[in-house]
Symmetry: C2
Subunit: 413 residues, 2 copies
Amino acid sequence: MNIEQANAEAVERMMEARPVLVGLGKALDVIPGMHQNLLLHAGPPITWERASGPMRGAITGALIFEGKARNEAEAEALVRSGEIRLEPCHHHQAVGPMAGVICPSMSVYILENKTHGNRTFSNLNEGYGKVLRYGAYSEEVLAKLHWMEEVMAPVLADAIEASGGLDIRALLAEALQMGDEGHNRNKAGSILYTARLAPFIAKVAPNPGVAADVLKFLGDNALSVLNPVMAACKAMADAAHGVEGSTIVTTMARNGTDFGIRVSGLGDRWFTAPVATPKGLYFPGFTAEDASGDIGDSTITETAGIGGFAMAAAPAIVTFVSGTPKDAINTTLEMYEITTAEHKYFTIPALDFRGTPTGIDIRKVVEKGITPRVNTGIAHKDAGVGQIGAGLVRPPMAMFEEALIAFAEQYRI
Amino acid sequence: MNIEQANAEAVERMMEARPVLVGLGKALDVIPGMHQNLLLHAGPPITWERASGPMRGAITGALIFEGKARNEAEAEALVRSGEIRLEPCHHHQAVGPMAGVICPSMSVYILENKTHGNRTFSNLNEGYGKVLRYGAYSEEVLAKLHWMEEVMAPVLADAIEASGGLDIRALLAEALQMGDEGHNRNKAGSILYTARLAPFIAKVAPNPGVAADVLKFLGDNALSVLNPVMAACKAMADAAHGVEGSTIVTTMARNGTDFGIRVSGLGDRWFTAPVATPKGLYFPGFTAEDASGDIGDSTITETAGIGGFAMAAAPAIVTFVSGTPKDAINTTLEMYEITTAEHKYFTIPALDFRGTPTGIDIRKVVEKGITPRVNTGIAHKDAGVGQIGAGLVRPPMAMFEEALIAFAEQYRI
């Protein structure tokens, strides 16, 4: 067995995947295996008992949104009884930022990888402030979710259809030339996304007032495009998954309690370890004491060669996640140590248009003692509060070591 | 007389100027001194006899647009006879890119400097391809100008009014964190501009089809915001003009034949010298042989501390104007040698958020033998052709020497 060859094939598939945003539909209708009593969540599998504060908050909010619970106690009872099931987004070709909770009646973006044909999904981004994905579920949070679902989603669905689809790989490549790294800085990508859809939104909206409201919501939210970007990265990572003999990481995800990875040549098995707490900058009034453990599927961006791995493209991000522009450059440079390829389509102007470090090799992580670099939002540890900062974090080394041992066993090396 | 103090005052006024896009109106109605038989143009004063090919082409196109001529011969006769007058945009608080021709019935952006109260103007950007500002005047060019004037301008005027005004200094500061330098790379600024106006455009357009067309025109044109940006820089430079004893440059502009500068402490006198030809990258089928001399008022961007001076913020621009990302950094670093201040509001993430080099001092230019760095589009030398490339150019040293001698004479140094 030739591991190098297997990895080259996996990373080639990852880079050649071309995910296009082709539509928007109800999770229940479009996500494979979704059903009325299922909630999807970020990271590896989790139970209510072990779930973090923000995860419990988001589950509660989703069940209120579905009309199945009125408060956290009712939500807890439904989940503990098994009447409501919890499964990872990643088991359903989906990803969600932070708590990543997707419920049956939420609309989700539909991405199609035009090269290999696989589909992926992600929910709509709620913007900043009090939001479900950070575990908040006040009336204000629910009211916004209802507006997004009842007013914005139909317009977005028609606009995406009228546009004929948006090539998210091309949009990301452009955004990396405009100071984004695609994970915590999606400012350029989000306005590119808004500007591209704007003519179609104006055309399909039921009236000019709704068109204006939707355009303002998308244009004011510097994370509008994060969810389609995450689904695009998931489509790329999935395309690289299942290559016999490959040591390339195809999933990195956190549920607030455990970090989990999956590896191309090791099937659907999760390797997990307790999450760390991110280090970063806190909003006024909050400190590291208030922080939840690392949470969210958004590390799918680093898995696909952007996010923390592309920070050299986004020096201005340090005002948000801490550090200096030089640290941002160094973060990218370090990631070349543990990856297999330089991305063909995602390039960094400041590094003479060098491709981003792509395709994490668990062998290199363990041999060099270098874990991936991830940048992330920071949630409050209690349910119902929300975002309190942003920063940097590394996944635990133990998962990579465990995966490498499993690889040696499976392939009898 | 304290020159340092005078320069500090001039550059402080330049940086504290806060130009806001407040409206759109017909040149005839809003530009001071505009009249039915007047055309404004880029650069210092010029006659038909000495005008370059692209300048003649743009004058011809403008007179066809006004219904005053049917071809170049008729346009030439009108201008030579004195029936149609030519005057610099700069004499009327206005600026225009490339040939910079503004005729009475064209709509122009109105900028107001909220700090010092002065107003400035610029025309609408036509996008790429065959366009008047590069000297093209085919039917296609005229048809687009008529659509812009009759369909887009009324919508833009209402949208800008409904928005309550757009702070262009703030928009530029944001765009410099997103890979723009504000002269030849305005990709981020243009979509920020489109996204900010989009909700208002959707609301005020006569119907959804027109809203969609206007949004598409603005969103597809990576130079949409160039003209408001130029007018904003003109407002900043004008605020710095007229400070007794100041050696700060407040105008740099080219008409395709002559480069001209004006200096804060030297009144309205132009110092001119023959333009150079830019060095850069040519579109397929064209070479340096085909290039017109340097042309346009867009060097108002460098005058105000952005454009070529901010290239370190925009490493991706080298794919358009030639060179490497390192050259872009070095261009900015060199400009600190001939300027007075580091901009308070325009900062460069890659240089640890250092302010852009701002306020060109003619003393430093002459003493150090370093002329300003300018990046620019390149026009074909013949009327009627259009853009053939983009590159870099330096203004002639002779103007700065002449201005310094005049300064010594005027102030008896």
